[in-house]
Symmetry: C2
Subunit: 585 residues, 2 copies
């Protein structure tokens, strides 16, 4: 064990100092995050007397685990239902925030005379807020369960998704010098597909398996199983080039549907607390006071721009989407910082050698400053919104009130299923089934790509290989395709009913409706085939084989129709059961 003294020493320094500051900052009634970051600065290599850490890499790795556990815990506390509730507002607020902050960042960079690429990366660095800092600050302040906090979490998830897309787009832009809307669209679609499919599949499988483990075994077994799922899923996500934070969040959201949610939260809390402390200390470790002095002016301007820009853009977006003034102010004040995502974007620029060296330390410094201000801003939001409400001229507040009334008049208001709600439900079900079908064909195509050598050894004929692969994917997708067909039949009946007016069509009404009800599903299936063929073009068999394959599949589908309907129904029931189950107290 004597080889590990360096590591134990580092951990001892981090933990001992963290232990002291956590008590100290609690006594001073300051958020503990600040204390951890301050501890990091003290420990760090840039402050006297001397670096107290020897193996910074290992401590950074432990800090990464902190991000995983923080995001996982966030996922555990998030419910899909609530995300649907805040969905539209979150999207509007996040998009307006990202757009405005990218523009502000770019303009500031140009104003300081930096290159266009530096300015663009600065914009991207300022765009995304820090989930970990916000989660920590909100739970320190005891506000995590408030309504505005749920909205903030929704915004953060949308931001995370858009941020991941931005990373991919920036990478392409930096390498090729151009950006096509097509690539942006594909990137976002893939991400959305991945999230939908993993949530669907995960919620169908993971809570059931955890339920089994929780019944037969001890806390240790449950914990190790939870960690196995968590890191296994993170690995999958990372392999698909998404961030580990997204993976941890998604698997947390999946496990949030488990009946044993509270036991899991209880087991994960000590791991999260221990490693998130290390993570925040590592943020402090990276802070170099000398760079802060040298670039004091840009850092000050950018920090101010982050606080004001995010407050205005995100707050305004929230307000425009229909929230009241107080909630909008609180949301705007909460997201006023940058964090781990900014470091990733800054280090991408460095890796691709398209940005200057000063951008990374500036990002860290601005992140540290805005992290320091975040808890104060959150606490300051309510007094400020009250003061503003009092100081506001009545004309302005009347306009705001009218806007709110107008917005709520737009909302559909009805009880019982209308034509609109019926159609929407069918469309959502078709979309979910199509997502699964797409994922199956894309998955098989990817798998075929990576297993190409083994496949060629086993099936030398390339045509036959494709027939087997594509046919296999079709077979797996069959229950979902049957479901799509049946949903389209229902939709077609509805459409036929509504679109053909007996007063105009007269005697032809029945025939017309029948025709529509027959033709729409067929047309839809042709569309589905074209989609699937496009997604799986790398394994699509030549036309002759394809026709044979489709004919065979059609025959097989007739034979297995009942089985397909049954298996799909039981999957649907399993999903609904898991959703409807309330966690044990």
């Amino acid at each position: 064990m004597h080889q590990e003294i360096g590591f134990i020493q580092d951990l001892a320094v981090v933990m001992a100092l963290a232990g002291v500051v956590t008590v100290l900052f609690h006594r001073l009634k300051q958020p503990v995050v600040l204390g951890y970051i301050a501890a990091g600065v003290i420990i760090g290599p840039y402050t006297p007397p001397f670096p107290l850490i020897h193996g910074e890499q290992t401590i950074q790795t432990m800090g990464e685990l902190g991000v995983v556990f923080l995001m996982f815990s966030l996922g555990l506390e998030f419910s899909l239902k609530k995300l649907f509730q805040v969905g539209v507002t979150a999207i509007i607020a996040a998009v307006s925030e990202i757009a405005l902050m990218m523009w502000i960042g770019y303009e500031i960079g140009r104003a300081f005379g930096w290159s266009a690429m530096d300015a663009l990366f600065l914009g991207a660095i300022l765009a995304i807020s820090s989930t970990t800092i916000i989660v920590k600050a909100l739970s320190d302040l005891g506000l995590k369960r408030e309504k505005f906090a749920q909205l903030v979490f929704g915004i953060l998830i949308v931001e995370d998704i858009l941020g991941i897309a931005m990373l991919v787009l920036l990478g392409g832009l930096a390498q090729t010098g151009e950006l096509s809307p097509g690539i942006a669209f594909i990137t976002l679609s893939k991400l959305l597909l991945f999230m939908v499919v993993s949530l669907l599949a995960g919620i169908m499988v993971v809570p059931r398996l955890l339920g089994y483990v929780a019944r037969v075994g001890s806390d240790e077994m449950l914990l190790i199983s939870v960690l196995g799922f968590c890191f296994g899923f993170c690995l999958l996500v990372v392999k698909l080039d998404y961030s580990i934070a997204l993976g941890a969040f998604l698997i947390g959201a999946i496990m949030a549907e488990s009946r044993h949610l509270h036991r899991i939260e209880h087991l994960i809390a000590p791991l999260r607390d221990a490693f998130s402390a290390i993570f925040f200390v590592t943020v402090g470790l990276m802070l170099n006071p000398h760079v802060m002095v040298e670039y004091a002016w840009p850092i000050a301007v950018i920090s101010l721009a982050v606080v004001l820009g995010k407050l205005v853009s995100c707050g305004l977006g929230t307000f425009l989407a229909g929230s009241d003034g107080r909630t909008s102010m609180r949301v705007g004040m909460t997201v006023s910082q940058i964090g781990e995502f900014s470091f990733i974007i800054a280090s991408l620029g460095l890796t691709l050698k398209v940005t200057s060296g000063f951008l990374y330390p500036i990002a860290v410094a601005v992140s540290a400053i805005t992290t320091l201000t975040t808890p104060y801003l959150i606490r300051f939001a309510d007094p400020l919104s009250q003061k503003l409400a009092r100081a506001m001229p009545s004309a302005v507040s009347n306009v705001f009130a009218l806007y709110g009334q107008w917005l709520s008049s737009l909302m559909p208001r009805s009880s019982g299923p209308t034509f609109f709600t019926l159609v929407r439900r069918i469309v959502v079900q078709v979309a979910l089934n199509l997502a699964l079908v797409s994922a199956i064909f894309i998955g098989v195509s990817y798998g075929a790509y990576y297993a190409a050598p083994a496949l060629s050894a086993w099936l030398p004929d390339a045509h036959i290989q494709r027939v087997v692969l594509w046919g296999g994917a079709l077979l797996i997708a069959m229950p979902f395709l049957v479901a799509v067909w049946r949903k389209m039949q229902s939709l077609a009946l509805l459409l036929a009913e509504v679109s053909v007016n007996p007063e105009h069509a007269g005697r032809l009404t029945r025939a017309l409706r029948h025709t529509i009800a027959e033709i729409v599903p067929v047309l839809a299936m042709v569309g589905v085939f074209l989609l699937v063929a496009g997604l799986s073009r790398t394994i699509l068999p030549p036309t002759g084989y394809l026709i044979g394959l489709l004919a065979g599949a059609a025959g097989l589908t007739m034979l297995l129709w009942r089985w397909c309907v049954k298996i799909h129904a039981s999957m649907q029931i399993a999903l609904r059961e898991t959703f409807d189950e309330r966690p044990d107290a």
Copy 2:
């Protein structure tokens, strides 16, 4: 975060596989440790299809954390009172085990034609059992709170202490080729002094501070404070060249006296479970099946020797110390393996380049085999002891029964304080106070050695420097010296009472008793001075200065007598209060 994919991948593989095996082995009703080790072998670099781990070093480091948390939890569950109860038996059993196993190991090594040094190291490798494996196996089997388990834990602590001494002695022997009993004595005395002093000081300070943290703060604060203490103390212990396992155990034993013990155990359990899983996987990682095949014969012989040798030596030692046959059998069967300590000794031999390269893999293989057999042996102990009891000729069992009766007749049996118990109590108190005094002078000497440059700049005169240092140490030690003086006075009075018989001394009785009561404490203090002077010889001032210093100290002591008595009494009360407090439910 993308830099850390390798590490996350490793962790994902370890955790996912551990999750599967923990469920699988639970279903098969096998101890989970075996599953973890098997997972390690599958993951490891020596088994097909290919190494699944990329950064083995980082995973090993995480495994080290598992050892820390396992030992810390063990400390939390151990009570000093119970150690005192099993103390004598544990020492007899551990010493007989270590002596016999070293001899067996040496003889086996020589029999295989290995060098004397290889054989000696093999003996040392086989001497110490694996605390972590035993703790895990016993808690898996639900036997951790049984009486024999408490005895085993006592044996393991004694073994750990002797093992640390052995490491130091082997290191010296390998480098110089000789071993003096003096060095052995000093090594053991230092270790004992360190343990006594850190337990005394720790129990006085740590539970109070934790109580403060627990009252004002959240679970997170308590956890971070506990981890801060744990790793801080481990660092101190490692800096003093003791093993991190000893440090984690000691600080656990100190915290076991906290009122918030159950909360601490609850918070630490997930960390322990997660990291001990990783630790056992790393044990499997090191297992190379090829070396096992090549050295199959020695490995088989040594494994058999470990199981039988430890069973006989430790079981017999336990029996001879007065335990019944069933307990002795269970103790012997439980300690029948080698583990982490053996790896340390084997790697010491490699580092000093005095042993052959095959010794390390053999140690790992034997450890793996005996770890695999441990849970089965523990479960087999009871049936075997019953079978033996039935098969035993009545003459033999009569001898055994007589031995037990004879032993218990040796035990002092009385109610109320006798002369013996009074003297023993005073001697223990004097010894504890002397330990503290010794630790103060040794600590100041060490500190002066490390702070020599700074001290010389501040106090250029070497004599004055020593006067300040030694005087300072004397000042700190004063309350304890006063306590020693007062206890020696009581002891002298008792001795005077007993040793002077009025029938013989007649009229001189009072005078003689008075003389003894006056002289003994003075003589004792001269002895204490000689001890202290010897321990602190590096900072002892020259005679002239020393006499002045002692005279000054004597005067100061008179002045501060009441204060010294008071402060010592309040420390004693603090210690007793902490001891007497029961943990919250």
